[in-house]
Structures are given as structure tokens and as C-alpha cells.
């Protein structure tokens, strides 16, 4: 089966090729564009499954294909691709979730006039992410990483005529670029330290013992710099601000960004270069891992709190993504790499499901995104409601039936056994409650209570949109088969151990803890918001246009704790803080450089120009007054001499001949005299 390793590049190449072909199509070839994109994705999925099969043969399967990209001086830059359980699992997840989103987009974007461009970007996005996953060289990974960034920029700003979309695209691009700067410095440092950027190279790669020993103590700094890139891409605490704004893009893009591609890249990166983080660990704790855990904990809690204060259906989901990514980072940081990746994959399914469900709701509500204007959609959009409920329960971590519950439990296990501190564990338990709470709040606002403004003339979405929802919902549930403690197949697959089946392990103490926590969260949600939904619907009449302004009713939390709610509603004023600090500083720096440019550097340049002019005037004068006069004098002399000489030329050839004869004679006499 080695052919699949050497031709692993075909997996990202299929969607990328589809993207190029679609770009060359006319704007009117809409169905052809959608079909091409979907065919490219199906090809990628097929190849991914083919690549997945050999990794099943033996635990810890890893196979690489390296080659020289180019040579400079004596050094050859080598890149390649790797097929191991991590890559294979990600490949299948990305390709499958991507396919569902592509199919959904064909329905969701059916009315958009730039459909072909949309599918070209979508394919490009998917291809770039698949490239990140198979890369066996940090450089190749970085290349695809940046392509992912570019694709996200293009897609978030897809509705470029909306100023907010353009601003969000710019924000996403610039914010992630800040992280990528650290990432790039980390790559350079890594190359300087270990002399290679290949991950696995038969014992010589930078993630293998020799490379790590070559790095020595600087591995911590390299790991932290690379983590900067992951922080930017995966929306971790200081750089998470772009992720909620990325909601300006079309909903399938949000699904793709939040589930399969983009944000998964950061977590995947940390998992991929995990040996760098864990190098020199004592009891599984290194300084870099502590940083990862801290950032992840802050992010997870902060985002789930902010989600409580949001009213935009997609923003709530965005913050839930941020918080789930924080959770994954915590899991990676405490040593639960497999648990983190399991959650990433499960998250890919259920977050895509939630976003596509949200897309379906938005589509049904005529592009209304405010949850206060929805309500009572349960009976109007039954399929969307059911699938959304499955997604919500998976995200909340309801155990037994939903994959998210098992993976979350796995993560909680990992945090409980961390040696450095138990604080992350307790904070994560609080995070579980919060997650259940805000998802319940959202569910109640959208699907329960009476119908509000945007619920008029609502219709269920067409099958092309509901089918992906159903597929993803089934995936979210069925996926839990390989996650349970009784048969931790995926865990073993990722860690490279053989899997055992033991039904006795199914019920763990943690199961009851998380069950209790989720119950608390959902119960609290119903207590807090159940009544609110009823009250709101009681006040607003289902007809007439005047109720639009009535939708600004009070949130129960707002009524109880106005200050806290405003704090959360305004995203903890982080955007404002950044505006006042980082953005203001950089703007000030721009002003200062502008002033310097205009007055200082310009003055310097003008001074030099003046000096040059002075020198020019001086040399012109010198030329005219001195050199020209001398040249003129020489010319006059030469002319005079010429006149004298020309007088000798009579034109009489016999005179010339005579002179010749006299000359000869003179020479003869001279010769005779000398001899």
C-alpha cells in the first residue's frame, strides 16, 4: 500500500485542481461549479479513506515520503508528506465534513450571483487544509497554513460589498498574521537548531530524538513561538478576536472555518509538533505546556462566558468554538493529545452540524440572525430542530449517546491527572456547565416559545440542505461508538496502542460527574430562560411590523445583573481595549513614522538634493569658465597650425615627388655618413 503514501499529495491536489478549473469557468456556469467542487471533495474523501486503510494495519503506523525541493549552497531543503494515525483521522474528518458543507452550500448559496467564485474559494480552502494535515515538513505545513489564511480571508470577505465583511476579513487576516510572525520565527529557530524542518526522517527529523537533542533547551522557546501561530489560527485568548467577526462570511464558510479547516489547524499543529512541547518533561509538565494549558483555560472560560451575552445566532456558536478550542488546548497541554484530537474530530462533526443548522434557520428566517426575533421554530422546521438539538446536546457534552460527551469526559480525565495543578480541571468542569447553559439559552430562544418577528413565513429548508444536516447528526451520534471508555478505539488508534474491549470500563465516576454538570447546566438554562421565552412571546403579537422594535426585550441575565451582562455582551470590551491600546499604538506609530517621513527623512533627502544642486552649479561654472576656455585655446592653436601646414600642400604631385626624392637622398647620405 505504499503507493498511497507517495501519492498522498493527490488528496489536497484534488480540491485545489477543482478550484482552479472552477475559477476558469464563466460566472454563469453555476451548477457546473458546484458539481466540480463536490466531485473534487468526493475524490479527496475517497483518497483519504484509501489512506486511512493502511494505518489500520498496525498500531502506531507511520510512513513518510520525503524528497528534495531545492538545493542552496551545500544544503538541500527537503519536504515531504507523512501518513500516520493523526493525519489519516484528520484527513477523513476534514474531507467528510467538507463534503457535507459543500453540498449544503449548493442549496444555501443558490441565489448568490457569485456562486462559481464561492465554490472555487471553498475548494481552495479545503485543499489547503488537507495540505496542512499531510505535510511532513514544517515549511510545507507553513505554506499550506498561509494558504488556509488566504482562503479564509477570501471567504470571510466574500460579500465584499458589505463594509463589515471587508473589515472582518482584514481583521482575521491581520490578527492571524501576528501569530504567524511568531510561528515563522519559530521555524527559523528550529531550522537553526536542528538543521532540518522535516518532522520524521528515519531518525533525523526535528521531532525525533536526534533533532530534539540538537535543539536542547531552546525547544521550549521554539515550541512557544510555534504556539503563537496556533494561538492566532485557533482563536486562543489574546488573538481570538477575529473568530467571532469571521461570522460576516456566508454561513457555510463559518461552518468550514469553525469545524473542518482553519481553527482545527492550530490544534492540529500543536498535536503534530507535540514532541517539541513535551521535550524534557518532568511528570508530563514543561514550561511550554503550562503556557498552553493557561492560555487554553483562559480562552475556554472567557469565551463560554461571553457566549452567554450574545444575541447573534452565529456569534454564540463562534464563541462556543473558541471555548471548545480552549478546551482542546488544555487537553493537549495536560498530555491528553489523543483526547484533544478526538475532541477536535468530534467537534468537527457537531460544530459543522450546528453551523449548518444555524444556516438552515437563517435561510428559513430570511437572513435574520438575531435570536430574539426568532422563536417557536420547533414545529416549523422539524428537521432543523431535531438535528440542531442533537448538535446542541453533543456540544453540551451529554454522555452516552453523543460523541462530544465521551471526548469531553476523556479531556476531563486528562486534566484530573495533571501533576502541575488541579485548577484547570475545576475550571473545565465549570466550563461544561457554562456550555450547557448557553446552548440551552440559544435553543430556547430559537426553537421554543411563541413565534416572533422573523418566524413569519418560515419554511423548512430544501433536502439539499437538510441532507447534510442529517448525515452530520448521524455522524455525531455514531462516532461515539469508537470513543467510549469500554472500547477506546480512536484513542488507541491515535496513541498507537492496540484497542481492548471491556464493557466494565464503560461506566466511570467521571461519567456521573459530567452527567450531573450537564444536567445542572441545562436545568439552569431552562429555569433562567424558559420563562423568559414565554414572557417575551406573550408580549409580542405575531402580526404587524411594530413588533420589530419590541424585540429588544431584556435578557433574564440582563435583568438580574445588568453590569455583568453588558460586560459579556460587549465581549468583555476586549475589542475596545485592543482599539485603545494595540490599534491606537500602531496608529500612533504610523502617525509618528508618517511625520518622520514627511519632515525628517524628507528633509534629509532634500538636504542631500540641495548639496547635489550646489555641486552641479559649481561644476557647471568650472566647466564653462575654465575647461571650456582651455579647450577653445587649444582649438585656435590647432587651427592656426593647420593653416600653416596646408600652405605646404601645393597640389603639385611633382613637388611631392621631388620632396620624396630629396628625402630619399637625405636618407642615403645619412646612411653613407653613419656607415
Amino acid at each position: 500500500m505504499s503507493w498511497i503514501v507517495t501519492s498522498l499529495w493527490l488528496i489536497p491536489a484534488a480540491p485545489l485542481a477543482a478550484s482552479l478549473i472552477i475559477l476558469s469557468l464563466a460566472n454563469s456556469r453555476r451548477s457546473a461549479a458546484a458539481a466540480l467542487a463536490i466531485i473534487g471533495q468526493i475524490a479527496a474523501l475517497t483518497l483519504s479513506i484509501l489512506a486511512f486503510l493502511p494505518t489500520l494495519q498496525a498500531p502506531g503506523y507511520r510512513s513518510v515520503h520525503n524528497f528534495t525541493w531545492f538545493t542552496f549552497g551545500e544544503q538541500a531543503l527537503r519536504i515531504g508528506w507523512v501518513l500516520d494515525s493523526l493525519a489519516a483521522a484528520m484527513l477523513v474528518m476534514i474531507a467528510l465534513v467538507g463534503l457535507c458543507i459543500f453540498v449544503f452550500s449548493a442549496g444555501y448559496m443558490a441565489d448568490d450571483k457569485n456562486l462559481t467564485r464561492f465554490f472555487a474559494y471553498l475548494s481552495f480552502f479545503s485543499g489547503a487544509m488537507l495540505g496542512v494535515v499531510i505535510a511532513n515538513s514544517l515549511l510545507l505545513l507553513f505554506v499550506f497554513w498561509e494558504l488556509v489564511g488566504l482562503a479564509s480571508y477570501l471567504l470571510i470577505g466574500f460579500w465584499i460589498h458589505k463594509p463589515s465583511a471587508a473589515a472582518a476579513a482584514k481583521k482575521a487576516f491581520i490578527t492571524t498574521r501576528i501569530g504567524d510572525l511568531g510561528f515563522f520565527v519559530g521555524i527559523l529557530w528550529l531550522y537553526g537548531g536542528s538543521g532540518t524542518l522535516l518532522f520524521y526522517d528515519g531518525g533525523k527529523g526535528c521531532l525525533e530524538t536526534a533533532g530534539l537533542l540538537g535543539l536542547g533547551a531552546s525547544a521550549t522557546f521554539v515550541a512557544l513561538l510555534i504556539f503563537c501561530g496556533a494561538v492566532g489560527k485557533s482563536g486562543q485568548f489574546p488573538l481570538h478576536i477575529w473568530l467571532p467577526d469571521a461570522m460576516e462570511g456566508p454561513t457555510p464558510v463559518s461552518a468550514l472555518v469553525h469545524a473542518a479547516t482553519m481553527v482545527a489547524a492550530g490544534v492540529f499543529l500543536v498535536a503534530r509538533v507535540y514532541p517539541l512541547f513535551s521535550f524534557g518533561a518532568i511528570d508530563g509538565v514543561t514550561p511550554s505546556l503550562v503556557v498552553v494549558v493557561s492560555i487554553g483555560t483562559i480562552t475556554a472560560l472567557m469565551a463560554s462566558l461571553i457566549a452567554l451575552g450574545q444575541f447573534d445566532i452565529k456569534r454564540i456558536l463562534a464563541y462556543s468554538t473558541v471555548s471548545q478550542l480552549g478546551l482542546m488546548m488544555v487537553s493537549l497541554g495536560v498530555g491528553g493529545v489523543a483526547a484533544g484530537m478526538m475532541h477536535l474530530i468530534a467537534h468537527g462533526f457537531f460544530k459543522a452540524l450546528l453551523f449548518l443548522g444555524a444556516g438552515s434557520v437563517i435561510h428559513g428566517c430570511h437572513h435574520e440572525q438575531d435570536i430574539r426575533k426568532m422563536g417557536g421554530l420547533r414545529s416549523l422546521m422539524p428537521i432543523s430542530f431535531l438535528t440542531y438539538a442533537i448538535g446542541m446536546m453533543t456540544l453540551s457534552g451529554v454522555p452516552f449517546f453523543f460523541s462530544g460527551g465521551w471526548t469531553k469526559e476523556e479531556i476531563l480525565h486528562a486534566t484530573a491527572h495533571w501533576h502541575a495543578s488541579h485548577i484547570p480541571h475545576y475550571l473545565m468542569l465549570a466550563g461544561v456547565v457554562l456550555t450547557a447553559l448557553y446552548m440551552t439559552r440559544q435553543m430556547i430562544y430559537i426553537f421554543f416559545g411563541n413565534r416572533r418577528a422573523a418566524s413569519e413565513n418560515v419554511h423548512e429548508s430544501p433536502p439539499i440542505m437538510t441532507l447534510p444536516l442529517i448525515v452530520l447528526a448521524i455522524c455525531s451520534i455514531a462516532f461515539s461508538v469508537v470513543l467510549t471508555p469500554a472500547w477506546r478505539w480512536l484513542h488507541s488508534y491515535l496513541t498507537g496502542e492496540p484497542a481492548h474491549f471491556d464493557i466494565a470500563l464503560l461506566v466511570q465516576p467521571m461519567l456521573f460527574v459530567s452527567l450531573a454538570l450537564v444536567a445542572v447546566g441545562i436545568g439552569l438554562g431552562f429555569v433562567m430562560y424558559g420563562k423568559a421565552g414565554q414572557l417575551a412571546t406573550g408580549r409580542v403579537r405575531p402580526t404587524g411590523g411594530q413588533n420589530r422594535h419590541r424585540t429588544a426585550e431584556m435578557d433574564p441575565l440582563e435583568r438580574a445583573q445588568p453590569a455583568l451582562f453588558h460586560f459579556l455582551e460587549n465581549k468583555m470590551w476586549l475589542d475596545e481595549i485592543y482599539d485603545r491600546t494595540v490599534v491606537a499604538w500602531s496608529r500612533m506609530a504610523a502617525h509618528v513614522s508618517d511625520w518622520m517621513d514627511r519632515h525628517f527623512w524628507d528633509g534629509l533627502v532634500r538636504g542631500f538634493a540641495g548639496l547635489g544642486q550646489l555641486f552641479g552649479i559649481f561644476s557647471a561654472n568650472f566647466d564653462e569658465r575654465w575647461i571650456n576656455v582651455r579647450v577653445d585655446e587649444t582649438m585656435t592653436g590647432t587651427r592656426r597650425l593647420g593653416r600653416v601646414m596646408s600652405a605646404w600642400h601645393s597640389g603639385q604631385i611633382q613637388t611631392y615627388l621631388g620632396m620624396l626624392a630629396v628625402g630619399m637622398l637625405a636618407l642615403l647620405i645619412l646612411y653613407a655618413w653613419l656607415a
Partner: protein, 104 residues
């Protein structure tokens, strides 16, 4: 009176002087050409004489070179005459005193 090298050189020098005198004093272009031919003949005579009185004169060499030189002189004379004719056609004269367009 046996022929000696000196005698030949004397005759050749005389011939050369006569030729030079002709080339310098005559005004008609054709006479100047004749003078030049005479100087050339003097040089040929010199050449043959030096060959004849060299230590080991090999029969064909000197004569051959002289004949070769005469052939070249013939060619030169042809060119000279052609020039004279061209000049005559242009200026309607062959008097070299009147042909002073190269005057500086």
C-alpha cells in the same frame, strides 16, 4: 672591359636618375609615367645584377623575380594609363600643373 658589378650599378643609377628627372620635369602625365617606368627598370637591373654577381647564382631565381616585377610594372602602367585617360576626360588636359585640386 669585363662587366663588373660596379658597372651595372653605375648604369642602373644613371637610368634611375634619368627616370627621376623625367618624372620631375615633364608636365605631361604620360611622360611622368614613362619616367616612373624607367626608375622601375633601373631597380630591375639592379636586382638582376646583384643576383648575377652573388657567390652562387642559381639559374632561374633572379630572372624569374625580375620577370615577375616587370609583370607587376605592366599592371601598374595599365592602372596609370587608365587614370590618365580618366583625368583627361574629366579635365580635358593632362598637364599636371593644372591638376592641383589637392592643394591645401
Amino acid at each position: 672591359m669585363t662587366p663588373t658589378l660596379q658597372l651595372f650599378l653605375f648604369v642602373s643609377a644613371a637610368l634611375f636618375c634619368i627616370g627621376l628627372l623625367a618624372a620631375l620635369s615633364r608636365r605631361h602625365a604620360i611622360f611622368i609615367l614613362i619616367g616612373i617606368e624607367m626608375m622601375l627598370a633601373a631597380a630591375n637591373l639592379n636586382f638582376v645584377a646583384f643576383w648575377r654577381f652573388s657567390p652562387q647564382p642559381q639559374p632561374p631565381i633572379g630572372v624569374m623575380v625580375a620577370i615577375f616585377s616587370i609583370a607587376i610594372a605592366a599592371a601598374e602602367a595599365a592602372v596609370g594609363l587608365a587614370l590618365v585617360i580618366a583625368i583627361y576626360r574629366h579635365y580635358r588636359t593632362t598637364n599636371v600643373d593644372r591638376l592641383d585640386q589637392l592643394k591645401g
